[in-house]
Amino acid sequence: MNSARIDYIKKQIENHIRLFFSKEIVEHFNDTIVRFLPYDEAVHVRKNQIVIPVDIRAELQPDDIYQVDFNNTKLILWNKLPKPTGEGWTPLQNESAPLWYQHVSGTLIPTWNLFGNLFNLLTAQEEIELTKRDEHGRFSSLDSPRLKSGLLEVPAFNEAVAVLVGALGGMVENCKPNFELKDLVKPPVVVLSHDCDVLYGNDFWTQIVRAYRVLLPLTRFRLPRIGNLWWIIRNYVTPKRFYFDNVKGMIDIERNFGYTSTFYLINGEYGRFGTRSGIKGIIDLAKIVPDGWDLGMHYNYNTFLKEDLFHSQRNELQDELSIPIQAGRAHYLKFDSQKSFSFLASNGIEVDESLGYVKRIGYRAGLGGCFQPYDLKNDKTIDLWEIPIVVMDACIVQQYGKDAITAFQKMIEHIKSIGGALSIIFHPGQFYNPEHSTMLGIYHKLLMECRHAGVESKTALSLLKEVKQ
C-alpha cells in the first residue's frame, strides 16, 4: 500500500474523530501512538502503540464475520485476522470474539482487516469490480456483496474509529484498550435534507403518472384504480397541497425539534427525469426557506457528467437565488462513484449527498458522517466532502414496513454509541401526502426518535464548515 493511500485513510479517520469525538482524542491520534505499518513490521513492534496493518488484501465478499460487544452496542466486523504467531499475544476482551490482540509489551493490533476494509469501502471497490448497473446506470444495493452478508447497515468505518478511539483513550490512561467510550463520543448528528423534485402536484408528469396508475390494473384484467382520479382533481384545484405547502410544514416541524435542513432544488431541463416545477417555483420556495436552513442543487438527470449542462443549471440557480451553490445531490441518485466526485469538485460543488442506495437503506461507503473521496487513478484525495445518504423516506418504509421506526431507532442508538452522523432524505411529496398513506407521520416519528437519542442536527454546509475549521 503506497503512502498516499495510508495518509488518506489516516486523514479520514482524523477528520471523523474531530467531528464526532472529544478534543483530547484528536490530540492522541498521532504517529507516536497509532502507526500504520506492513503486517510483518506491525507484529514485531514492542511498544505501547496501536499498530494497523496496511498491506492485507480485503476480498469483496466479506469473510469471517463476527460480533463484538462494545460501548453498549454490538459491532459487526469481518475479514478476521489470525492471532500473530509467537509468544505473548492475548486476545482482548473475549477469546472467541476479540477486538484486539495485545502483546505483553503493550502493542495492540486489531483483530480484523481494519485498513483493508475501510479502504475498500471509502474507494467503493465493490463498484469498481462489479460492473453491473441498473437502467439508470447506477450501482444497485442488490448487487453489493455486503447485502448478501447482511452488512449494508453496518457503519464499518464508524465502528472501526470508535474502537480506535476506545483504544487510544485506554492506551493513554493505562496501556489497555477501553471498550467503553464514556464522554469521549459526542452526541449523534442527523443531516436532514429534502429533494424538491415536485413542488406542484398538477404538473404534467405527475398527473400522467397518476392517470397511468388508474389504468394499469386494466392490463391485468382488473378494475381500474379510480381512487387515483381524486388526486388528479385534487392537485388540479390546489396544486401546492402536499408538495409546496409541505415545505412549510417540514420547516415548522423541524423548528419544533430545533433542527434545520437543506432543500435541494432541481431546475434546468423539464421532463419525466428533469425539473417539473420550473425556476419560478424554486424562486417562490427559496422565499419561504428561513435563515438557518440551506439551499442546494439537485443535479438534473441530464447533467450527469456533462459540464455544460451542469454549469448551466448551477449558474441559473446561483443567478436567480443570489447565493453560491456549494452543496448538492444527484436527482435519481444518478451517480458514478469513480467519476462523479472529481466531476463535482471541478464544477464548484464542495459538499455532496448523493452517495446512497435507492432500494435499501444503509451505509454505501460503510460510513455515517462525511469523508473526502479518493482518486485512485492519480492517487490523491479529491477536494470534495461526501455525506453519504443512510436513510431515504420511502426506502425505509418499503424495507421494514411497520417496523421502520424501530429499525431507525436501532440505527440511531448504534450511532449514538459509536459516534457519527446519519444523513436522512425526505421528499416534500412524501412528508404529508394522503396519496402515500403509508408515509403519513413517518418523518415526525423519525424526528421524535432523534430527539430521544439526544441528536444534534447539522446541515451539509454546517458540517462542511465544521470539518474545514
Binding site: D245, N246, K248, G249, D252, I253, R255, N256, F257, G258, P290, G292, F431, Y432, P434, L440, G441, Y443, H444, M448, R451, H452, G454
Partner: protein, 364 residues
C-alpha cells in the same frame, strides 16, 4: 423518613421514578429544563423529595412563574411532579412535601400555587380550590385524529363509528374554514420568529389593561425558556404586526401524538384601531390551523377554560373557523397564600386567561 429539598446527584433517581411511574422516557435534559431553568432562583431546583433508607419515595416540585394582574407582576408557582410511592401512602408524605413549599411560598411572597390534575381530593384536603376545569376546542383534519376522542382498539366498532363521525365533522369544519378564511390586509404582517421581541411584555401589560383578570406574564425571557429552549417541542412562534406595531402572537406545535396544539394566542388592539381584535385573532388562529395542517397534524386542539372575555372570544372565533368545543380536560387547582389577599379580586379565579402555555410544555 426525611422530606427535604433535592440534593446534587439525585436528579437521575427522581427522573427514573417519574419514568417508571408514568411509563415515559423523559430525559435528564428535559428534567433539567423544566425544573432547573427557572427565572426565580436560576439553578436552584424547588424540588422536594421524600427519602426513606436512601430511596426516593416521593417527589413534589414548584416551577416559579410570573403572572400579571391590574396591580402588576407577581410570582406564582406551578405545582408539578407530585408522586408518592403507593407503599408509602397514608403517611402524610404528600402533605409534608407541600408544607415545605407552602412555607417557601409564604416567605417569598408567591401569591398562588396552581396546577392541573385529575387527582383533586388530596389537594382539596390541603386547602387547594378547584375553580374550573379545562375544556377542549378541536378542529379535525383527518379521521386519524380519532385517537384524540377514543382510546379504544383501532379496529373496534366504536372507533369505526368515531371515524365516520369525524369524517362528517371534517366536512363541516372544512366548509367553515373556507367560508370564514380571514382576508389578507396590506398593513398586517405575520412573522415567524426564533426569539421573542422585547415588546411582548408590553403587549402582555396592554392585554391586562384591556381585559383585566390574570394571566402568565409573557416577556421575552419567559418565551425563551418556555418555547425556544423547550427540549420537548419548540413551538412555532408567530407574531402579528399592524404596520410596524406588535399586537399579538400565536404559538403552535405538533404534539408527539400527531395532533397540533394551539399553545398560546394573545392579541391587543392596534393603536390606530384599524382592525378589530376579533379579526386579528382570527388571522392568528387561522395561521395555526394552516400551519399545523401543513405539518401533517391530524387535527388541532387548544384550551377553553374560563369566562375571561378573551377566552370567550377565542372560543367564538375558533368555532367560526370550524373548531368544536367539548368537555374533556383536567381540573385546575389553586392555592392562595396570604400574599394573595393584597391583590385585587384575588379570590376571583374565573378571570384567569389560561391557554396551553400553562401546561408543562411536553406537547409544546
Amino acid at each position: 423518613m426525611e422530606v427535604r429539598l433535592i440534593k446534587d446527584g439525585e436528579a437521575e433517581k427522581c427522573n427514573d421514578l417519574h419514568n417508571r411511574w408514568y411509563k415515559t422516557n423523559r430525559t435528564l435534559k428535559q428534567w433539567h429544563w423544566v425544573f432547573l431553568q427557572n427565572s426565580y432562583e436560576p439553578d436552584k431546583p424547588l424540588y422536594t423529595v421524600a427519602v426513606d433508607n436512601d430511596n426516593i419515595v416521593g417527589t413534589q416540585t414548584f416551577i416559579p412563574i410570573k403572572m400579571i394582574d391590574e396591580n402588576g407582576i407577581f410570582w406564582t408557582a406551578k405545582s408539578e411532579g407530585t408522586l408518592v410511592d403507593p407503599a408509602y401512602r397514608g403517611k402524610q408524605i404528600f402533605k409534608k412535601m407541600y408544607d415545605l413549599f407552602f412555607d417557601y411560598a409564604e416567605k417569598n411572597k408567591f401569591v398562588y400555587i396552581w396546577g392541573f390534575t385529575t387527582a383533586t381530593k388530596a389537594l382539596e384536603r390541603i386547602n387547594f380550590k378547584i375553580p374550573f376545569k379545562t375544556t377542549q376546542i378541536f378542529l379535525p383534519f383527518s379521521s386519524r385524529a380519532v385517537s384524540m376522542l377514543s382510546k379504544t382498539d383501532t379496529k373496534s366498532i366504536i372507533t369505526l363509528m368515531y371515524k365516520i363521525g369525524l369524517g362528517c365533522t371534517r366536512i363541516v369544519s372544512s366548509t367553515k374554514l373556507i367560508m370564514n378564511k380571514p382576508g389578507k390586509q396590506d398593513s398586517i404582517t405575520i412573522k415567524t420568529l426564533v426569539k421573542a421581541p422585547q415588546e411582548v411584555g408590553d403587549v402582555c401589560q396592554k392585554f391586562i389593561d384591556t381585559y383585566g383578570g390574570k394571566t402568565i406574564y409573557r416577556d421575552s425571557e419567559y418565551f425563551q425558556w418556555r418555547i425556544f429552549e423547550n427540549p420537548y417541542v419548540k413551538g412555532v412562534f408567530k407574531t402579528i404586526y399592524v404596520d410596524s406595531e406588535l399586537v399579538g402572537w400565536v404559538v403552535y406545535s405538533l404534539g408527539d401524538d400527531g395532533i397540533g396544539c394551539l399553545v398560546d394566542v394573545l392579541v391587543v388592539q392596534d393603536k390606530n384601531r384599524k382592525f378589530t381584535i376579533e379579526y386579528l385573532l382570527k388571522r392568528l388562529i387561522y395561521e395555526a390551523v394552516i400551519g399545523t395542517r401543513d405539518m401533517g397534524a391530524t387535527g388541532i386542539r387548544g384550551w377553553h377554560v374560563t369566562n375571561h372575555p378573551f377566552d370567550l372570544l377565542i372560543k367564538k372565533v375558533a368555532k367560526s373557523l370550524g373548531f368544536y368545543h367539548f368537555q374533556r380536560g383536567y381540573a385546575a387547582v389553586i392555592y392562595s397564600t396570604q400574599s394573595a389577599e393584597e391583590r385585587p379580586s384575588h379570590d376571583l379565579f374565573n378571570d384567569w386567561y389560561i391557554s396551553r402555555i400553562f401546561t408543562e410544555g411536553v406537547l409544546g
